[in-house]
Point group: C2
Chain length 517, copies 2
Amino acid sequence: MNGAHAVARTLLNSGVEVCFANPGTSELHFVAALDDEPDLRAVPCLFEGVATGAADGYGRMTGRPAATLLHLGPGLGNGLANLHNARRAGTPVVNLVGDHATFHKKYDAPLESDVDALARTVSGWVRRCEDPATVGGDVAEAVAAATGAPGQVATVLLPADVSWSDGARSAPPIAARRPTAVPARTVATVAGTLRTGEPAALLLGGAATREPALSTAGRIAAATGARLLCETFPARLERGAGLPAVERLGYLAEGAMAQLDDVRHLVLVGARAPVSFFAHPGLPSQLVPDGCQVHTLATAADDISAALGDLADAVAVDVSAVLQPAARPASPTGTLTAESAAMAIGALLPEGAIVVDEANTSGLWLPGATAGAPRHDWLTLTGGAIGQGLPLAAGAAVACPDRPVLCLEADGSAMYTLSALWTHAREGLDITTVIFANGSYAILNMESQRLGTRAGGPAHRDLLDLTRPGLDFVALARGMGVPASRATTAEEFTDRLREAFAEPGPHLIEAVVPALF
Amino acid sequence: MNGAHAVARTLLNSGVEVCFANPGTSELHFVAALDDEPDLRAVPCLFEGVATGAADGYGRMTGRPAATLLHLGPGLGNGLANLHNARRAGTPVVNLVGDHATFHKKYDAPLESDVDALARTVSGWVRRCEDPATVGGDVAEAVAAATGAPGQVATVLLPADVSWSDGARSAPPIAARRPTAVPARTVATVAGTLRTGEPAALLLGGAATREPALSTAGRIAAATGARLLCETFPARLERGAGLPAVERLGYLAEGAMAQLDDVRHLVLVGARAPVSFFAHPGLPSQLVPDGCQVHTLATAADDISAALGDLADAVAVDVSAVLQPAARPASPTGTLTAESAAMAIGALLPEGAIVVDEANTSGLWLPGATAGAPRHDWLTLTGGAIGQGLPLAAGAAVACPDRPVLCLEADGSAMYTLSALWTHAREGLDITTVIFANGSYAILNMESQRLGTRAGGPAHRDLLDLTRPGLDFVALARGMGVPASRATTAEEFTDRLREAFAEPGPHLIEAVVPALF
C-alpha cells in the first residue's frame, strides 16, 4: 500500500468521512486513493478557502473533523482565513496539505515556500510526514489531535513521495484527549458566588452554547438570577422556541460594556474574558467593568456539561429553566430593508434550520426576529475573517443533509469566496442563500463614523462603495448553477424565501436593502 | 500629522503612486489619509488576492512598486498566493498590512494571528512599525527594499494606533540597492567558454528577458552560436517581430531535458539553474544534463544589462542579433480549439499588447502562434500559484493605460480570483479576458496520466471536472459589470476578439474549447 492509500484508509478508520478538496499535482496519488475508498466522500471546491470553510462548517455541526485537501504553501495560504475562523471556533479539522517530494524541496522549485510556518499560524498541531512507514500513525494522531477537547486544526503536511511510495499501512484510531474534569472546589466557589445574589452573568462559549449544557445553564440562571450571555461570535448557538434565551455580547465595545455594566460576577463557561473586537482610541480593550470579578467555571478544554451539571446540582435543584416561548413576527410588507427581511426570516425559518450568519450590519434585527422561531442552530463569524458564510454553509449542509441551511450573507463578504456556490450546486445542497445587497462595505462606514475618519473624500468613497458597477448576484449565482432571484419588496422577499425553503437544493435570493451606514 | 498620513505622504515622496486596496477597520485612518493625497491612487479590490496580484502586475510593468492595503493576518493570508508569485517574479511590492493597535495585541482578540510569521514567508524585508515618530522612515526603507535589485516584496505591518497617533512626519526617499557590477573576470571566463564553439545556451531570467538586455543577448547568440533560452515562467518576456526570439524551457521535466540535451555550457543570465516544476517518480529534480557545465554570468541581483554589454563587447562586436520576422497566422475557421484560438490571437494581437498568460494547458499553441506578432510583453505564472491572471492584468492595465492588455485565463484558474473582473469594470481597464473554458482541471488530468494515477474512478472524475454544473463565464462577467460573450467557433472567436480589441474598456470572451487531456 502506498502512503496516500494509508492516509485515506486511516482517515476512515478514525471516523473521517468527508474530504473537502482542491487538489493539485502533488495530491494526485491521494485523489487516486480516494477512488479506492468510496466511503470517504470527496467534495470538490473551486478555491481553498471554500474547502477550509466547509470543513469548519462540517466540524461545527458533527463534532467530528472533515479533512481538507490543499496544494502546497499557496493553497494553504488561500485556505488560511477560514482556518483562522475554525481555530477561533475550536472546530476539529484535519487539514491535509500536499507538498513537494522530500528530495525535491531543496531545489526551491517555483511552488516551494515555508508551508510549515504557514501551518503553525492556524494549527494547534502540525506534523510533517517523512516516511510512508509512519504516515498511517501520523494521520491517526492528527485525527485525535483535531478531535480532542476543545477541537482544533491539525495539519498534516504530506510530501508527494510519501504519498506515492509503497511500504505504508493504515493505522487504527487513537483516542482523543477527553475534556478535563472541573474540580469540585471550583464548582463550589462559583456556587457560593452565585448564592450571594449579587448581580452575576454566565458567559457561555464552546460547548456551553449547545444542548445539553445550555439547558443546564438556563436552570442555573433561573435559580440564581444570573443572566445568560454568550460570546459575540459563538461557533454554534442552539436557540429558538423551547430553549433558554441567550444574549450575545455586542460587537461594539460600547454595546458590550453597557451589557456588562451592572455585572459584579462574570462566570466564564467555555468562554474567555471579553475583549474589544478592535481597539479604538479612548476605549478599553478589556471589557470587564471595574468592580466586576471574573470567575472561571470551565475553559473550552474542560468538561463543560459536567461542570454545569454539578453547579446546577448545587444551586438549581428542582428549578426549571425559563424557556423562550414560540413566537414569530408577522410577515412584513412594503419596503425591503434589513429589518423587514429579518421579519420575513423570523416568520418562515423552518424547524431544525442551520443558520449561517455573515450578514454583518444587515443582520442587526436577525436575533430579535428569530428568537422565538422553531429551534435552530446559529453559526457565526468566530474569527472575524470575512468570506466564511458560503463555505461554512456548504460544510453544514454536507454534515446535516436532512436539515435546511439558511446562509445570510453580506454582499461585500460574499465576494471573497463566492465560488462556494458552485459546490452548493455540484452537491445539490439544501442551502438558501440570502445576499443582503446594500452596495457597500457598510460596516466600514459605521466604523469610520465611530473613528471620526469619515471625510467623504474620494478614496473613502471609492474603497467602501460596491455600486460602480453594481454586483448582480442573480447573474453570479446562475453562472455557477444556483437558481437565483432578486427581491426588492418585503412581499417579494417573503415569497422567494418561502419557495426556496419549499424546494430542495440550493437557491439564492438577492435582497436589495438600503445600507444602514 | 498622524502615522497614516506620514505613511501616505512618504509613499508618494518615494514614487509610489498606486495602492491596490482591500481595507478593514484597522486601515480606516490610512483610507482617510488617502483622501488627503489625491496623487496616490486608490484602486478598490474585492479580495486581497486581487490586490496583491494587481500590485505584482503593476510592478512588473513599471519596475516601481505599488502599495497594497490588507487587513490583518487573514487579509494577508488571502493575499499570500499572489505575493508568492510576485516573490518568484522579483517584483517590487510594498505590502502594507494593517494590524491591531500595539496595546491591543496581547488580548488575543478574534482577528489576532501571527501576521509576522505569514509576512516572512513571502517577503524579502519585513518591518513592524512601533512608533508614529519613525513610521515615515520605516516606509521609505520599505520602498527602497522593495525596489532594490532584483525587486522583492517588502511588508510593512502598521498597527492601528501607529496610524491614528499624532507626532508622525513623512520621510524623504531612500536610495535603493543598485544592481551589483559583474567582475570583468567573470565576463572573460564566459566569453572564453562561448568562444570554444562547444554547444552552449544562455538561460535568461529577470531583466535579461527585457530590452535592452534581450537584444544584447541576441547579438551574443548570433556571434557565438549559443541558443537563447529563458526560464519556464519569465516575469516579463518582451517578444514579437523585431526582437530576438527566445525559447522558453518546457514545463514538463521531459520537455526541458530534451531542450537541454545537447547543451554543454549553460550560461545563467539572471536565471537560476533549471529544476523540475514538480518531482516525479524516476525523473531527476535537477534538469542540467550530465556533462553540461553551468556558468553564472549574472544573478538577478547583478547588473545584467551591463554584464551582457561587456560580454557582447568581448564576443559580438559588429554582430547583429537575428530578429524574429513579422508574421501572423491566417485567421482560423471551423472548430474552436486551443489551437485555433491561438491562431486567432496571433492574427489579431495589437502592437504593444501586454499578454497575461494563465492559459495553462490551453496555452500550448500560443507561443508559436504569436511569435511573429507585433512587439508585445508576455507575463507568466512565475510562482505556479494559480489565480494570478485576472489580478495581474488589472495591475498591468493600471500601470500602462495606453496599452491593450490581453488576459488569457484557464477556467479553473479563473475561479480563484474572479472578482478581479469587478476591478476591471470599476476602473474601466482596457483588458480583454479570454476564458479557455474546457470544463476541467485538464493539467491535472495530464499529470495523472504521467503519474499513472488516472484510474477514472469517481473521486478523480469529481475532483477534476468542472461541468456539473458548467460555469457560465458570460453570466459571471456580466454580474460584475464586464461585457461578455461566448464563442464556440473559430470565426465567432475571431470576431469577438476583434471587437474587444477595438473597443476600450474591459471585455470577456468565453472560448469554449475541448480539453486536451
